[in-house]
């Protein structure tokens, strides 16, 4: 029981990270109907920017604390957003209105470019950092097994919730969010009604990249290491989360991320670590085959 509770805590912390990335996938899919294959690598870029920021701060001896993490987070969000914006501008915008495979191939190419760019620029070795957030507290003690929440996990959950709250406010309460939702429903009509669709799509990519950079920072804090190839697997899992929750649905993406995180953690804890990715991918296949709309997605009615 205590063991299961511990896994639940670990799973939620991991699931939050997946959820943040999944939101980026689901937003882009909702608005232009393409799988942004490079999104996982944007997440990796975010992790690297925070790594560089942390090392810079460490060298400058500015101390540690919540302020430093916030500063790193902001820097990472700013730079990674710019990466997201540039990727859209260079690789996707010229292909708007082209046939469906073209942006997908372009995105795969962009994913290769980003991975290898980071490899060339920052080196092929995994980069470790000193743990920034340490300590933890015991929640419950039962049957000789202590259930503990590390401060790190608490930070991940708190930051993620705060970012998601801000994001929800942005989408539901601001003119920008209204424009995004309008573009998602009917891009042509939104354009006719005076919404600058190109700008809205750019903003979507920027927001998605910012969320991914938050996830990247949290990932770096949690695992303490960044590697240029981290983006692919995490990206595919986050996409699985987006599909599982119902692609196009923002709450669905977070829910899907949480569930994928939990399933992965529990699978590793009770069955086998080697096959944890098989479990995730099987869920992806099963979801799509049994209920292609996901948990919270709407059914797509096809008109001829």
């Amino acid at each position: 029981m205590a063991y299961a509770l511990q896994q639940l805590i670990n799973g939620v912390a991991l699931g939050m990270i997946y959820g943040l990335i999944a939101v980026g996938y689901t937003m882009v899919y909702g608005i232009i109907g393409m799988i942004n294959f490079a999104h996982g690598d944007i997440f990796m870029v975010g992790a690297f920017i925070s790594l560089i920021a942390f090392v810079l701060i460490g060298m400058g001896d500015w101390g540690t604390g919540p302020g430093v993490i916030l500063l790193v987070l902001l820097v990472s969000m700013a730079v990674t957003s710019l990466y997201g914006w540039s990727v859209e501008r260079v690789a996707y915008r010229p292909l708007r209105g082209s046939f469906r495979l073209a942006p997908l191939i372009s995105a795969i190419g962009m994913s290769i470019v980003l991975q290898n760019f980071v490899q060339v620029a920052q080196g092929a070795r995994a980069k470790p950092i000193e743990p920034v957030v340490t300590g933890g507290f015991e929640v419950w003690h039962g049957n000789g097994f202590a259930v503990s929440v590390s401060t790190m996990q608490a930070v991940i959950v708190a930051v993620t919730l705060a970012v998601l709250a801000g994001f929800t406010w942005l989408v539901t309460r601001t003119p920008l969010g209204r424009a995004m939702r309008a573009c998602e429903q009917d891009r042509k009509m939104a354009g006719l009604l005076g919404v600058n669709t190109d700008r809205t799509i750019s903003v979507t990519f920027v927001i998605g990249a910012a969320l991914a950079s938050v996830a990247g920072t949290m990932y770096l804090l949690r695992y303490g290491v960044a590697h240029f190839s981290d983006g692919f697997l995490v990206g595919v899992k986050a996409f699985t989360a987006a599909v599982f929750g119902g692609i196009g649905s923002l709450p669905g993406a977070v829910l899907g991320g949480l569930l994928i995180g939990l399933i992965e953690t529990f699978w590793s804890a009770y069955f086998s670590v080697q096959y944890k990715d098989v479990a995730t991918f099987s869920i992806l296949v099963l979801t799509l085959v049994v209920m292609p709309t996901g948990l919270l997605g709407r059914t797509e009615v096809e008109k001829v």
């Binding site: 915008r93 997908l104 994913s111 290898n116 490899q119 085959v289």
Partner: protein, 464 residues
């Protein structure tokens, strides 16, 4: 031939866009607009300056601040590389300026029907010329051992591209896990030959059958999926196969793979460097040479690739092939016309997978070693890139794209880690400049009256 052969921006392909894009491909407003009043040089300079600013913001942290592990093995420290950043930013500025000026100052494009007709006439001779070249390549005086190896590699990808073309180009089913079938074929041959001692020629069809079986197995659950969903499920399938290969150590040898896979023989005559009795060189009375095997492998993969091509071309004219192409264009119409969609999709998967399996068996026998490392997602991406960059459904385009991509990739071997970067960049660039691939016009398989090449824009690939 006139209007239909070349234009990139056909009405059909643009239909779902609707919103007029203010910034065209390059992002520079052309024609009437607020920026038109500005002289082109100023506009281009301003644009290039902005691009350079963005580039600076992108490159300063990533390139300028290189994190390195300290000499004592301690924490990371930062090494600054401002010169590299400056060079990169200057490069971006220069490129953007050149593109901007070129877009602003080039004469308005005029339709040149003569050029299209000439291209079409030359195009007829490209395929036979390539074929003849491929046939005589090992006999050419300048061909080295390295050249032959490169030829084998390129032909392997040509074959994989043609195999995937059946699934993606003809049937319109987007498959991102094609490498799984390649892996099944390779491991099938590796296991059958090392465990049961079966020869290559027995295993080759078996590998194809096994891969086709896996194709059907994958095909069944994903029959209902369309487009991008299908892509992601096939990707997941490819990854599952790879993880199984890594972790099922007792069968596959895990990450270490299987080594000591037997080489193929020429009708029972082996290729041994020593040239003992019963070997190829002994039988034909030749000087024993290790080149014989390489030449034999070259012709083997050439034959396999041509077989793939032949089958594809023949099938396209048969009801099955027509059903594939109909399915690609409109699945609902297909159902309405009484085409069995299930069977059509499954045969596409199975036949595509079968050729992947053949290629896999060839790969195993050439390398004499297989490991899960050869079957990563990037391999699937490369094969798909060959198919799409070549122009979906175009056999010649796929072959050309394989030569350009794989040949180019090998030509820049000295650049090591940079070449993958360039490879990805080329993928993006070709897609942005020629979204329909290198060979974007195609002849319809079935036509009323005279056959005419149509622009790829008019063919709705990738919707299925």
């Amino acid at each position: 031939m006139s209007g239909t052969a070349t234009p990139r921006e056909g009405g059909a392909a643009r239909a779902d866009d609707g919103v007029p894009a203010p910034g065209e491909a390059g992002g520079i407003p052309r024609g009437p607009g607020p920026a038109a009043a500005r002289p082109p040089l100023v506009a281009a300079l301003r644009d290039a300056g902005l691009a350079a600013l963005v580039a600076a913001a992108l490159f300063v942290p990533m390139v300028g601040l290189r994190t390195d592990v300290g000499p004592s093995g301690g924490g990371l420290f930062i090494r600054t590389r401002w010169a590299d950043v400056a060079i990169l930013v200057a490069l971006v500025f220069g490129l953007r300026l050149a593109v901007g000026l070129w877009t602003a100052l080039r004469p308005a494009p005029v339709a040149r029907p003569g050029r299209a007709a000439l291209l079409a006439r030359v195009g007829v001779f490209v395929a036979p010329a390539l074929l003849v070249f491929a046939l005589v390549f090992p006999a050419l005086p300048g061909t080295t051992r390295y050249g032959l190896d490169l030829g084998i590699l390129v032909l392997t990808y040509v074959m994989l591209g043609w195999g995937l073309n059946i699934v993606v180009g003809l049937a319109g089913l987007l498959d991102l896990g094609y490498v799984a079938f390649y892996a099944v074929g390779a491991y099938a041959y590796a296991l059958l030959s090392t465990t049961f001692g079966l020869s290559f020629w027995v295993c080759l069809p078996l590998a194809g059958v096994l891969a086709a079986f896996w194709g059907v197995l994958l095909g069944f659950p994903v029959l209902r999926l369309r487009g991008d969903y299908l892509a992601i499920v096939t990707l997941a399938f490819g990854e599952i196969i790879r993880i199984l290969l890594i972790n099922w150590v007792s069968l596959t040898g895990g990450p270490n793979g299987i080594s000591g896979i037997p080489r193929p023989s020429f009708f029972g005559l082996g290729f041994s460097a020593g040239g003992g009795p019963g070997s190829f060189s002994d039988f034909f009375g030749l000087e024993p040479s290790p080149t014989h095997r390489v030449v034999f492998l070259y012709y083997l993969i050439l034959a396999l690739a041509l077989l793939t091509n032949l089958v594809t071309i023949r099938l396209r004219r048969q009801p099955l092939g027509r059903a594939w192409e109909a399915l690609r264009e409109d699945e609902i119409a297909c159902r309405a016309l009484g085409i069995n969609v299930t069977n059509t999709k499954l045969t596409a998967f199975a036949i595509g997978a079968m050729f992947g399996g053949f290629a896999g068996a060839f790969f195993a026998t050439r390398q004499a070693f297989v490991s899960p490392e050869s079957f990563t997602f990037i391999e699937s991406a490369i094969i798909l890139a060959i198919v799409v960059l070549g122009g979906l459904g175009s056999q010649l385009g796929v072959a050309l794209a394989a030569v350009v991509l794989i040949g180019g990739f090998e030509a820049f071997r000295d650049l090591e880690e940079y070449r993958m970067l360039v490879f990805g960049g080329v993928m993006v660039a070709i897609m942005v400049l020629r979204p329909r691939g290198l060979v974007s016009s195609r002849t319809p398989s079935v036509a009323l009256g005279k056959r005419r090449a149509v622009s790829g824009d008019l063919v709705g690939q990738g919707h299925g």
